[in-house]
Structure formats: C-alpha cells, structure tokens
Subunit: 260 residues, 2 copies
C-alpha cells in the first residue's frame, strides 16, 4: 500500500526506520531524486559539473551549506529521510547507514538530481514496456566510453541505463521522455551498444540484466549514477550519496517537471 502514501507520509515511515528498502514504485506520481552531498569547498565545481552535464545530472534542488530541508520537500530532513545512505571517505566506499546525522555538518552541500523513475511511469502510462519493472529487477546500467564534460576537480564517464523496446516503441519513448528534461530527458543512444563501448548487454556494471527479445533494440538513457562516479572521482574527505534504488522522495509531481 506504500504506492498510495503521500511523499511526506512515506518520508515519515523512512525517518522512523520502518522502511529501509528501495523506493521503486512508492508514492507513485511523485518525483524521486538522486542524492549527492559534498564538502562546501568543492560545491561550486560539483554544481558546475552538473550544469555542464544536464542529461546525466539534471538539477532538481541544491541546498546552501548546512541546510537540510529542500524547497521541493517542505518539512523533510535530508539527513534522515533516505532509506539507505552510502558514505565515501577519501574517494572510497566506507559503509551503508540508515541516517547521516553523525556525518552531516555545516560545511556540507546537498544536491538532489533527477531520476528515471519519473519517466518510467510515463512510459508505462503510454503502454510501452519497461522490462526491469516487468521482471521485478533493477534497471541495467553500463559505464560507457563517453566522457562527461569535466568541471574543476570533477570528471566521470557517462553512465547509461538501458530499456529494450521495438523500434517503433523506441521512437514513442523518445517523444515521451523528451518532455521529462529534468529526469534525464530523451535517450542518448539506441541500437549498437558497441558504439558506447558496451561489450555485453547481459553483464551490466550496475543493476540487473533483463530479457531482450528478438525484435527489440536497446535504448539508452543518461543515468544518475554518473553523479556518484563524479563525486567520488577525487579523494574528498566525505561524500554522502543514497544507496542505489533508495531515493529521496520529493513533493514534486512528475508532471510538474515537464517542459511541455
């Protein structure tokens, strides 16, 4: 029944420790966000990285240093309202934790970036296949051979997510996701995975492999995991992210993000 919870009700469940699992399909119709928290002295560089790479890193909200309540989720506390966080120290993964009250401090700057969950709902509503949802899996994600535009300290390869579709479905999906420019927008590539440096679609770098039918082609969208790779590309003293699939749920309606 968590699909029916409002975003604030769901965040309350998360804050109280009752929900520590992925947020896929919860509070349906509301925008979920990737979380990246970095030290203040690199915040300009990281913001610039996002601005220069809007398809993988579309900015939904950025909080001034030390602030914990996003404008797009009044009453929320960014330190407690994500079901599972990841802590990186010196650029290395350290641990997963259920809140970051003991890590967050006045010198930390929070970024909330768009996530593909919003456009997946729109694809489903249009009758298009979303294989990872059909098969109850995490979406297939791949590190590509394309570099993002670097900014200051930060660089990263483009990471993409993949959903298989028939060619005519891929065209319709391109139309639909174009409207969602703040949750990765139109695909970045389709067909020929080898042009992205992907050798085996059955071996994703993150997430799970999904079935690709004979009459389907792979359709690739820019993926928010790119932001995690960028934020951890340097040995910063502390970086905090959400754990994969454990997103921050905002009060924004999916439709509020569309350009058209």
């Amino acid at each position: 029944m968590k699909e029916q919870l409002s975003p604030s009700e769901l965040r309350e469940e998360i804050r109280s420790g009752k929900w520590t699992s992925p947020t896929t399909g919860l509070a349906r119709g509301y925008v979920q966000a990737n979380l990246v928290i970095v030290p203040r002295d690199v915040a300009f560089d990281f913001l610039l990285f996002c601005v220069r790479n809007p398809k993988p890193c579309p900015i939904l909200d950025v909080l001034e240093a030390g602030k914990v309540e996003p404008r797009i989720a009044p009453g929320a506390d960014i330190r407690r309202d994500v079901p599972m966080y990841r802590i990186f120290e010196g650029g290395e993964f350290n641990s997963e934790v259920e809140d970051v009250v003991d890590y967050f401090h006045d010198g930390m700057v929070t970024f909330l970036l768009g996530c593909s969950f919003s456009f997946e709902n729109a694809l489903l509503a249009a009758g298009l296949p979303v294989r990872n949802i059909e098969e109850g899996k995490n979406v297939s994600m791949y590190v590509t051979n394309r570099d993002c535009v670097p900014a200051g300290l930060f660089s990263a390869p483009l990471v993409v997510s993949m959903r298989p579709m028939k060619p005519e479905e891929a065209i319709r999906a391109a139309q639909i996701t174009t409207r969602f420019h703040l949750t990765h927008g139109a695909p970045v590539h389709l067909g020929s995975p080898e042009e992205l440096g992907i050798e085996d679609l059955g071996m994703p770098d993150f997430g799970d492999p999904v079935t690709i039918k004979e009459d389907e082609i792979p359709v690739f969208w820019a993926c928010g995991v790119t932001s995690t790779l960028a934020a951890t590309s340097r040995p910063l003293p502390l970086v905090i992210t959400h754990a994969p699939g454990h997103m921050f749920v905002t009060d924004l309606k999916d439709e509020a993000l569309t350009l058209l």
Copy 2:
C-alpha cells in the same frame, strides 16, 4: 553586412575595436549571451541563483575562475570580445568600457546566460510580429512585483521583456519559444500587466516603449536583465556585465539550443 559574419569574424571586429555598438541582428542564427562576471567567493551562490531561476537566467556556459575562453566560443577572449562592458564596484555602476583586461583577474568567474535574440529569430521565421525589431527599438523591459527564488547572498525581482501580439499569435509564440528553453523559453505571463505590478506599459524600466495595437495583448518573457540586478544586489568589490544590447556572440547555432 555584419549579419553575414561568422561569430568568430564578428568577435574579431569587436576585439579590434571596429565594432562597439549593440549586436542585435548580427551573426544571425547564432546564440548571443548575457555576460555576468563575479568574484570567486560568491560564484557558488550566483550559480545557485541561476539554477533556481532558469527562466530569467538560463545557463549557457560557466568558466572556471580566471578562464577567459568559453567552450561555446573556441578562440574567444571574454575580456575583449564584447562590444561594451559595464563595471560595477560596491554594487554601484561605475563605468562603461570596451574591454576589461585591466579589471579581470584570476579570481573572477564568468557566466554566459541565454538571451531572447535567439527566439526572436524563430518568431520572425514563423511570421509572428516582433514589434521592437519592426520599429528599430530596444525591447521594452519591466521590473515586476515577483521575486526570484533567492540563493545565498543573491536576490532580485523578476524582470520581463514584452512583445505585443494578437491572442492567436501569442499562443503560437508560446509553442515556438517553449523549444528555446535555454533562451528564456515560454512566456511567463500574458495580458493583465497589473498582475505583474506594471502600471504603464508605455514607461518601461529598461529599453524603449513600442506600439501596442488595439487587437493585441502584451506577452511577457523572463529577461536576462534579472541576472544583472541579482549580481549587483550586494556591494561586491567588482562585478562585470555586458552593456545592454551589447552581447557576447557564441559559436552555438540557435537551433542547437532547442529541446525538440
């Protein structure tokens, strides 16, 4: 014949001092940009202001501190390639100068923001009236009663530009400018200027008044002057902007900015 110059040829004319006038209509088909240069210690706040107010302040490019060559204009020098600059010291207008070589230093961060010249070409191409161009005037601009979302140090009222059209032309103009989301996008308001706190359309705060015909309504777009008001809303030691109408001409084609 300056309409036919390439952006780099035009910048060369400007750099050599041969062209010190407004850039309206020059290097037609290429994106022109608002320029704002601020000290490094407030650059994060100013970038955040732009991110939070994308309609008046759509980001085309941001340069790391001390850099003078934008990615969107290879070979350009941001200190010399604008026909006329304005210098603000302590938040107050100081002077207009033809280059800023003696002002710019390693601690200054350059912002290039979208400008309505791009969508005006698209409106003309669609057969819609652009009264300020028809009458050879600068577009009418008004400071509204709407506040932008503040960010760190910076705040500003929303400034709008106005073009009068028949209602059915206004609808078509909304469709066309929606595609140009990096040059202010769709209108923010139409009709009823009093709702924006505008008392007399014949007395713009910036630019010139234009003729409004009996069967026309005013159509309002977010305006890049907002960024100048924000950057000078605090008594910073140094802020550099372009002089009104004297824009930075990029190598980007207008069509390259469209979402669709």
